[in-house]
Amino acid sequence: MNKLENIPVQAKSDKKRTNPLARVFDELIQFCQSRSMFMLHYCTGCGAIELPPAMTSRFDMERLGIQPMVTPRQADILLVTGYVSVKTLKRVLLTYEQMQSPKYVIGICSCTVNGGMYWQSYATAKVLNEYMPVDVYIAGCMPRPEAVIAGLRRLMSNIENGKGDAWKDYYKRYDYYLGNQQHLFGDDWQTPVDVIGEAKFYGLEGEETYGEHTKILEQHQEPLEAQVMRVKL
């Protein structure tokens, strides 16, 4: 069982910086990051219908510096709008891993929190932060555009205060997330992104990066090759 309070909030690493202006730069960068957010709204469910009003003329997200982007590469925030069916969850994870850190996830609608009104459904995943770290949840079925904007503002203030680093948790506790994913998708689940390699590369590996689940992954993980762009029709 996963408790909502357990969503980790870590302080920014207090590495010694020799540059006296480093703090100023950091704060400037954090400020800019909080004021310019490119979002990728993955319309996984009904919550997506309240995003157009929030984006367009009436509520106008752009005045907060938030604008929609098209591909995961360009985006900073992933908005998971509504219930996540198992088939979608795979794609959401692929999308999430392709995004460039620092990256943030917002779970919109009650369904991402606890299954919502589809608690009984065999096809939807219930708790989103079992599969990927979530920064902010916006509850409601569905949350009004005002609520969406309030949630985004909460994320903005988190980033500005240096608290918005749930994405590091994905590297630090990869074993936990991978375990939940494997439970749902089967043991041969593998994404094209080498998360462990990345964790090593950034020095973000923690004690829980490795574990029994990553061992399963390593057993069958194939060396990553280019995917041939062919589908069967």
């Binding site: 198992v86 795979k90 065999y122 219930k126 998708f185």
Partner: protein
Amino acid sequence: MNCDEINIWLDTLLEEINEIKVTRKSERRVRVDVDASSLPALLELLKGKASYVHLSAISCVDWPDDEEFELVYHCWSYEAKSLLSAHTRIPRNTCEEFAHYVSIYDIYKPAGFFERDIYEMYGIYFESSPFMEKFILTEWNGPPPMRKDFDAEAYVNETFNWAEYNPDWLQEITEEGGGIEIRPEDVRL
């Protein structure tokens, strides 16, 4: 020929088919019960002769007590302005795992979608349909989920976790005797 004449003509036509029971439920709804073997012939007749060109839907109902699936073909005639529901029953499991029936894709093109849907949700294999493959439930390995003997709730409890939400303020209220404590018998009506 106006609507009424078509309807009268249709009723006489239907009476000529053997083993068929026609019930006119209202002005625009006709219920036809027909044997599984003569259903394709009936549909062909309806489409070719009686202007029932629009297949609105194919519904499937599971009757596990009778060991039968009920298939309902809803056809609409733009000219007679009436909707004909052809009911038929097929045995639930014949010899192998799947129940079998014939596809009517060559009579009605929209049947392709509905038959694939029934194939996924109930596991009825429609012979000679070109679409007998996974479409919606591609990531699903369990039994056909719409069958009555698949218990979705048990599956969910087995597969998924729930997030617990028990913050301090709620605990305080609960200690004082209030809160959202749910008695076991009230859980999820």
